[in-house]
Protein backbone atom coordinates (compact mmCIF):
# COMPACT_ATOMS: atom_id res chain seq x y z
CA UNK A 1 0.00 0.00 0.00
CA UNK A 2 1.25 3.49 -0.82
CA UNK A 3 2.31 5.87 1.93
CA UNK A 4 -0.31 8.48 1.02
CA UNK A 5 -3.05 5.83 1.21
CA UNK A 6 -1.84 4.86 4.67
CA UNK A 7 -1.90 8.49 5.76
CA UNK A 8 -5.39 8.86 4.27
CA UNK A 9 -6.62 5.83 6.22
CA UNK A 10 -4.95 7.26 9.34
CA UNK A 11 -6.74 10.59 8.89
CA UNK A 12 -10.08 8.79 8.41
CA UNK A 13 -9.56 6.67 11.54
CA UNK A 14 -8.51 9.71 13.61
CA UNK A 15 -11.57 11.70 12.51
CA UNK A 16 -13.94 8.81 13.26
CA UNK A 17 -12.38 8.12 16.68
CA UNK A 18 -12.23 11.84 17.51
CA UNK A 19 -15.82 12.30 16.37
CA UNK A 20 -17.00 9.38 18.52
CA UNK A 21 -15.15 10.74 21.54
CA UNK A 22 -16.01 14.42 21.18
CA UNK A 23 -19.45 14.38 19.58
CA UNK A 24 -21.10 11.05 20.38
CA UNK A 25 -19.74 11.13 23.93
CA UNK A 26 -21.22 14.55 24.46
CA UNK A 27 -24.78 14.02 23.32
CA UNK A 28 -27.44 14.78 25.89
CA UNK A 29 -31.09 13.83 25.82
CA UNK A 30 -32.15 17.47 25.69
CA UNK A 31 -34.52 17.23 28.63
CA UNK A 32 -35.47 20.41 30.45
CA UNK A 33 -33.80 20.65 33.84
CA UNK A 34 -35.34 22.85 36.44
CA UNK A 35 -33.22 24.73 38.93
CA UNK A 36 -35.23 24.83 42.14
CA UNK A 37 -34.11 26.20 45.49
CA UNK A 38 -33.25 23.36 47.84
CA UNK A 39 -34.84 20.96 45.38
CA UNK A 40 -38.35 22.29 45.94
CA UNK A 41 -40.51 23.90 43.31
CA UNK A 42 -43.58 25.61 44.73
CA UNK A 43 -46.45 24.44 42.60
CA UNK A 44 -49.25 26.74 41.56
CA UNK A 45 -47.44 29.98 42.28
CA UNK A 46 -46.51 30.98 38.80
CA UNK A 47 -45.20 34.53 38.70
CA UNK A 48 -45.87 36.58 35.62
CA UNK A 49 -43.24 38.98 34.34
CA UNK A 50 -43.78 41.43 31.51
CA UNK A 51 -40.69 42.54 29.61
CA UNK A 52 -40.44 45.98 28.06
CA UNK A 53 -37.89 47.61 25.83
CA UNK A 54 -35.50 50.38 26.83
CA UNK A 55 -33.46 51.79 23.96
CA UNK A 56 -32.02 48.85 22.04
CA UNK A 57 -32.16 46.51 25.07
CA UNK A 58 -34.67 45.06 27.49
CA UNK A 59 -35.51 46.84 30.70
CA UNK A 60 -34.20 44.80 33.66
CA UNK A 61 -36.87 42.63 35.25
CA UNK A 62 -37.24 41.23 38.76
CA UNK A 63 -38.61 37.93 40.07
CA UNK A 64 -38.84 35.96 43.30
CA UNK A 65 -36.71 32.90 43.87
CA UNK A 66 -38.23 29.46 44.06
CA UNK A 67 -41.31 30.05 41.93
CA UNK A 68 -41.78 29.14 38.26
CA UNK A 69 -41.80 32.14 35.94
CA UNK A 70 -43.96 33.05 32.97
CA UNK A 71 -42.42 35.78 30.80
CA UNK A 72 -44.32 37.83 28.25
CA UNK A 73 -43.35 40.99 26.35
CA UNK A 74 -45.48 44.13 26.06
CA UNK A 75 -46.00 46.06 22.84
CA UNK A 76 -42.92 48.27 23.44
CA UNK A 77 -40.73 45.24 22.61
CA UNK A 78 -40.12 45.18 18.88
CA UNK A 79 -38.23 43.34 16.15
CA UNK A 80 -35.88 40.52 17.07
CA UNK A 81 -36.21 41.42 20.76
CA UNK A 82 -39.58 39.67 20.69
CA UNK A 83 -37.67 36.39 20.41
CA UNK A 84 -36.44 35.98 23.99
CA UNK A 85 -33.59 33.60 24.80
CA UNK A 86 -32.36 32.47 28.21
CA UNK A 87 -29.34 30.27 28.83
CA UNK A 88 -29.66 28.95 32.36
CA UNK A 89 -26.93 26.54 33.44
CA UNK A 90 -26.40 25.43 29.86
CA UNK A 91 -30.11 24.86 29.26
CA UNK A 92 -31.65 27.12 26.63
CA UNK A 93 -35.15 28.53 26.86
CA UNK A 94 -36.25 30.36 23.73
CA UNK A 95 -39.60 31.54 22.43
CA UNK A 96 -40.79 34.00 19.86
CA UNK A 97 -43.40 36.05 21.70
CA UNK A 98 -45.33 37.20 18.68
CA UNK A 99 -48.11 38.84 20.71
CA UNK A 100 -48.18 40.27 24.29
CA UNK A 101 -50.41 37.34 25.26
CA UNK A 102 -47.81 34.66 24.47
CA UNK A 103 -45.38 33.63 27.19
CA UNK A 104 -42.11 31.80 27.81
CA UNK A 105 -42.13 29.47 30.82
CA UNK A 106 -39.04 29.22 33.02
CA UNK A 107 -38.54 26.86 35.96
CA UNK A 108 -38.10 28.12 39.51
CA UNK A 109 -34.75 29.86 39.76
CA UNK A 110 -32.36 30.39 42.60
CA UNK A 111 -31.26 33.90 43.65
CA UNK A 112 -29.00 35.68 41.22
CA UNK A 113 -28.82 37.75 38.09
CA UNK A 114 -29.68 35.97 34.82
CA UNK A 115 -28.60 37.64 31.58
CA UNK A 116 -30.88 37.03 28.63
CA UNK A 117 -30.99 38.31 25.07
CA UNK A 118 -32.95 38.25 21.88
CA UNK A 119 -32.29 35.11 19.82
CA UNK A 120 -29.87 37.02 17.58
CA UNK A 121 -27.81 38.16 20.57
CA UNK A 122 -28.31 41.80 19.71
CA UNK A 123 -30.45 43.09 22.60
CA UNK A 124 -29.78 42.24 26.25
CA UNK A 125 -31.54 42.34 29.58
CA UNK A 126 -31.22 41.04 33.13
CA UNK A 127 -33.65 39.01 35.17
CA UNK A 128 -32.81 39.67 38.80
CA UNK A 129 -34.10 36.90 41.05
CA UNK A 130 -34.28 37.78 44.77
Amino acid sequence: MEKSTLYGVGIFVLIILGGLFFIKGGQTNGSVVANPIDGQVIQGQLQKIVLSQEGFNYKDAGAKAGKPISISADSSVRGCLRSVAFNINGQKYVKYLKTPEESLELPALSRGSYTFSCSMGMGYGKLIVE
Binding site: I11, L14, G26, K92, F116, G121
Partner: protein, 226 residues
Protein backbone atom coordinates in the same frame (compact mmCIF):
# COMPACT_ATOMS: atom_id res chain seq x y z
CA UNK B 1 -5.07 18.70 -14.65
CA UNK B 2 -7.27 17.65 -11.71
CA UNK B 3 -6.30 14.02 -12.26
CA UNK B 4 -2.62 15.02 -12.27
CA UNK B 5 -3.13 16.90 -9.02
CA UNK B 6 -4.80 13.90 -7.38
CA UNK B 7 -1.96 11.72 -8.65
CA UNK B 8 0.60 14.17 -7.28
CA UNK B 9 -0.84 13.73 -3.78
CA UNK B 10 0.90 10.36 -3.61
CA UNK B 11 4.31 11.37 -4.97
CA UNK B 12 7.27 12.54 -2.94
CA UNK B 13 7.02 16.17 -4.09
CA UNK B 14 5.48 19.15 -2.26
CA UNK B 15 1.91 18.03 -2.99
CA UNK B 16 2.75 14.55 -1.72
CA UNK B 17 3.37 16.07 1.70
CA UNK B 18 -0.17 17.47 2.02
CA UNK B 19 -1.92 14.33 3.29
CA UNK B 20 1.02 13.48 5.55
CA UNK B 21 0.86 16.99 7.03
CA UNK B 22 -2.88 16.71 7.75
CA UNK B 23 -2.17 13.42 9.52
CA UNK B 24 0.68 14.89 11.57
CA UNK B 25 -1.37 17.92 12.60
CA UNK B 26 -4.32 15.74 13.62
CA UNK B 27 -2.26 13.28 15.60
CA UNK B 28 -0.33 16.02 17.44
CA UNK B 29 -3.57 17.85 18.32
CA UNK B 30 -5.31 14.68 19.48
CA UNK B 31 -2.34 13.56 21.59
CA UNK B 32 -2.21 17.05 23.14
CA UNK B 33 -5.90 17.00 24.00
CA UNK B 34 -5.74 13.45 25.40
CA UNK B 35 -2.81 14.40 27.65
CA UNK B 36 -4.57 17.58 28.82
CA UNK B 37 -7.78 15.62 29.33
CA UNK B 38 -6.17 13.16 31.72
CA UNK B 39 -4.19 15.91 33.46
CA UNK B 40 -6.84 18.60 34.04
CA UNK B 41 -9.82 18.57 31.71
CA UNK B 42 -11.52 15.42 33.02
CA UNK B 43 -12.08 17.22 36.34
CA UNK B 44 -14.20 19.83 34.59
CA UNK B 45 -17.89 19.09 34.84
CA UNK B 46 -19.57 18.37 31.48
CA UNK B 47 -16.34 19.03 29.58
CA UNK B 48 -17.19 16.86 26.56
CA UNK B 49 -20.87 17.85 26.21
CA UNK B 50 -20.07 21.53 26.59
CA UNK B 51 -16.88 21.91 24.59
CA UNK B 52 -16.18 18.59 22.79
CA UNK B 53 -17.89 19.38 19.51
CA UNK B 54 -16.28 22.80 19.10
CA UNK B 55 -12.82 21.61 20.17
CA UNK B 56 -13.02 18.72 17.71
CA UNK B 57 -13.85 21.02 14.80
CA UNK B 58 -11.23 23.58 15.84
CA UNK B 59 -8.62 20.80 15.70
CA UNK B 60 -9.88 19.79 12.24
CA UNK B 61 -9.67 23.45 11.21
CA UNK B 62 -5.99 23.64 12.15
CA UNK B 63 -5.44 20.36 10.28
CA UNK B 64 -6.67 21.94 7.03
CA UNK B 65 -5.00 25.35 7.41
CA UNK B 66 -1.48 24.18 8.31
CA UNK B 67 -0.92 21.89 5.27
CA UNK B 68 -1.93 24.74 2.95
CA UNK B 69 0.52 27.02 4.73
CA UNK B 70 3.24 24.41 4.24
CA UNK B 71 2.25 24.13 0.58
CA UNK B 72 2.57 27.91 0.11
CA UNK B 73 5.86 28.06 1.98
CA UNK B 74 7.34 25.44 -0.37
CA UNK B 75 7.60 28.11 -3.08
CA UNK B 76 9.83 31.14 -2.95
CA UNK B 77 7.49 33.66 -4.55
CA UNK B 78 4.12 33.77 -6.31
CA UNK B 79 2.71 36.16 -8.93
CA UNK B 80 0.56 38.98 -7.48
CA UNK B 81 -2.85 37.56 -8.39
CA UNK B 82 -2.04 34.10 -7.04
CA UNK B 83 -0.53 35.55 -3.88
CA UNK B 84 -3.61 37.67 -3.28
CA UNK B 85 -5.85 34.62 -3.67
CA UNK B 86 -3.62 32.72 -1.23
CA UNK B 87 -3.67 35.52 1.35
CA UNK B 88 -7.41 36.01 1.02
CA UNK B 89 -8.38 32.33 1.15
CA UNK B 90 -6.16 31.33 4.07
CA UNK B 91 -6.84 34.57 5.95
CA UNK B 92 -10.59 34.13 5.56
CA UNK B 93 -10.73 30.43 6.53
CA UNK B 94 -8.23 30.86 9.39
CA UNK B 95 -10.32 33.75 10.70
CA UNK B 96 -13.81 32.42 10.10
CA UNK B 97 -13.60 28.88 11.49
CA UNK B 98 -11.77 29.54 14.79
CA UNK B 99 -13.95 32.66 15.19
CA UNK B 100 -17.05 30.53 14.69
CA UNK B 101 -16.11 27.76 17.13
CA UNK B 102 -14.71 30.05 19.82
CA UNK B 103 -17.61 32.47 19.33
CA UNK B 104 -19.97 29.57 20.04
CA UNK B 105 -18.36 28.88 23.42
CA UNK B 106 -17.01 32.25 24.57
CA UNK B 107 -19.31 34.78 22.93
CA UNK B 108 -19.07 37.15 20.02
CA UNK B 109 -16.41 39.53 21.34
CA UNK B 110 -13.85 36.91 22.33
CA UNK B 111 -14.59 34.77 19.27
CA UNK B 112 -14.04 37.81 17.06
CA UNK B 113 -10.77 38.77 18.75
CA UNK B 114 -9.31 35.25 18.50
CA UNK B 115 -10.70 34.73 14.97
CA UNK B 116 -9.30 38.04 13.74
CA UNK B 117 -5.93 37.39 15.39
CA UNK B 118 -5.49 33.92 13.85
CA UNK B 119 -6.92 35.05 10.49
CA UNK B 120 -4.73 38.13 10.21
CA UNK B 121 -1.55 36.32 11.32
CA UNK B 122 -2.10 33.50 8.81
CA UNK B 123 -3.26 35.97 6.15
CA UNK B 124 -0.07 38.01 6.44
CA UNK B 125 2.19 34.98 6.76
CA UNK B 126 0.82 33.34 3.62
CA UNK B 127 -0.02 36.49 1.67
CA UNK B 128 3.52 37.82 1.87
CA UNK B 129 4.48 35.23 -0.75
CA UNK B 130 3.72 37.92 -3.32
CA UNK B 131 4.51 41.06 -1.33
CA UNK B 132 2.38 43.83 0.10
CA UNK B 133 -0.74 43.11 -2.00
CA UNK B 134 -1.05 39.56 -0.65
CA UNK B 135 -0.35 40.75 2.89
CA UNK B 136 -3.07 43.41 2.68
CA UNK B 137 -5.49 40.89 1.24
CA UNK B 138 -4.64 38.54 4.12
CA UNK B 139 -5.22 41.25 6.72
CA UNK B 140 -8.55 42.23 5.21
CA UNK B 141 -9.75 38.63 4.88
CA UNK B 142 -8.64 37.69 8.41
CA UNK B 143 -10.30 40.77 9.85
CA UNK B 144 -13.55 40.10 8.00
CA UNK B 145 -13.54 36.33 8.54
CA UNK B 146 -12.88 36.54 12.29
CA UNK B 147 -15.74 38.96 12.85
CA UNK B 148 -18.12 37.09 10.56
CA UNK B 149 -17.37 33.69 12.09
CA UNK B 150 -18.02 34.76 15.67
CA UNK B 151 -21.09 36.77 14.70
CA UNK B 152 -22.59 33.88 12.74
CA UNK B 153 -22.03 31.47 15.64
CA UNK B 154 -23.54 33.83 18.16
CA UNK B 155 -26.59 34.53 16.03
CA UNK B 156 -27.12 30.79 15.57
CA UNK B 157 -26.87 29.93 19.27
CA UNK B 158 -30.52 29.01 19.42
CA UNK B 159 -30.87 27.66 15.91
CA UNK B 160 -29.01 24.46 14.92
CA UNK B 161 -25.56 25.82 15.75
CA UNK B 162 -23.85 22.44 15.56
CA UNK B 163 -25.26 21.60 12.12
CA UNK B 164 -24.10 25.03 10.93
CA UNK B 165 -20.66 24.24 12.39
CA UNK B 166 -20.43 21.09 10.25
CA UNK B 167 -21.69 22.87 7.12
CA UNK B 168 -19.22 25.78 7.37
CA UNK B 169 -16.38 23.32 7.97
CA UNK B 170 -17.26 21.22 4.90
CA UNK B 171 -17.50 24.34 2.70
CA UNK B 172 -14.19 25.66 4.06
CA UNK B 173 -12.51 22.30 3.39
CA UNK B 174 -13.69 22.39 -0.23
CA UNK B 175 -12.31 25.95 -0.58
CA UNK B 176 -8.95 24.86 0.90
CA UNK B 177 -8.82 21.88 -1.52
CA UNK B 178 -9.46 24.38 -4.33
CA UNK B 179 -6.62 26.55 -3.07
CA UNK B 180 -4.20 23.61 -2.99
CA UNK B 181 -5.18 22.73 -6.54
CA UNK B 182 -4.72 26.36 -7.61
CA UNK B 183 -1.23 26.46 -6.07
CA UNK B 184 -0.34 23.22 -7.88
CA UNK B 185 -1.68 24.57 -11.18
CA UNK B 186 0.02 27.95 -10.92
CA UNK B 187 3.35 26.82 -9.55
CA UNK B 188 4.87 24.66 -12.29
CA UNK B 189 7.41 27.28 -13.30
CA UNK B 190 8.11 28.59 -9.81
CA UNK B 191 11.26 28.11 -7.82
CA UNK B 192 10.91 25.75 -4.88
CA UNK B 193 12.66 26.07 -1.56
CA UNK B 194 13.73 23.19 0.63
CA UNK B 195 10.78 22.51 2.91
CA UNK B 196 10.77 18.92 4.04
CA UNK B 197 10.69 19.37 7.79
CA UNK B 198 7.51 18.92 9.78
CA UNK B 199 8.73 20.68 12.92
CA UNK B 200 6.68 23.82 12.41
CA UNK B 201 3.53 21.74 11.77
CA UNK B 202 4.08 19.82 15.02
CA UNK B 203 4.91 22.99 16.94
CA UNK B 204 2.00 25.06 15.58
CA UNK B 205 -0.54 22.23 15.97
CA UNK B 206 0.53 21.79 19.58
CA UNK B 207 0.61 25.50 20.36
CA UNK B 208 -2.71 26.35 18.70
CA UNK B 209 -4.47 23.36 20.27
CA UNK B 210 -3.24 24.25 23.76
CA UNK B 211 -4.18 27.93 23.38
CA UNK B 212 -7.61 27.02 21.99
CA UNK B 213 -8.37 24.52 24.76
CA UNK B 214 -7.26 26.92 27.49
CA UNK B 215 -9.26 29.76 25.97
CA UNK B 216 -12.43 27.75 25.34
CA UNK B 217 -12.44 26.08 28.75
CA UNK B 218 -10.92 28.70 31.06
CA UNK B 219 -11.12 31.89 29.00
CA UNK B 220 -13.43 34.86 29.50
CA UNK B 221 -17.01 34.74 28.23
CA UNK B 222 -19.35 37.43 27.06
CA UNK B 223 -23.05 38.02 26.63
CA UNK B 224 -25.39 35.11 27.19
CA UNK B 225 -22.56 32.67 27.82
CA UNK B 226 -21.35 34.16 31.10
Amino acid sequence: MVKEFIKSLSNSDVEGELIKTIFISLIVSFITIVILYFLILRNIQNFIPKYGFFLFFTILTYAIILPSTKHVKAYKEFPCMTGMMIGMTIGMIAGFLPGFYIGATNGMFYGSVIGMSIGIIFGIWNGKCCGIMGMMEGIMAGFMGGLMGAMTAFMLLNDNLQYAGVIVFVISSVIICGLNYMIYKESHQLEKVSNNGSFFIVFLSFLMTVITILFIVFGPRGGLLQ
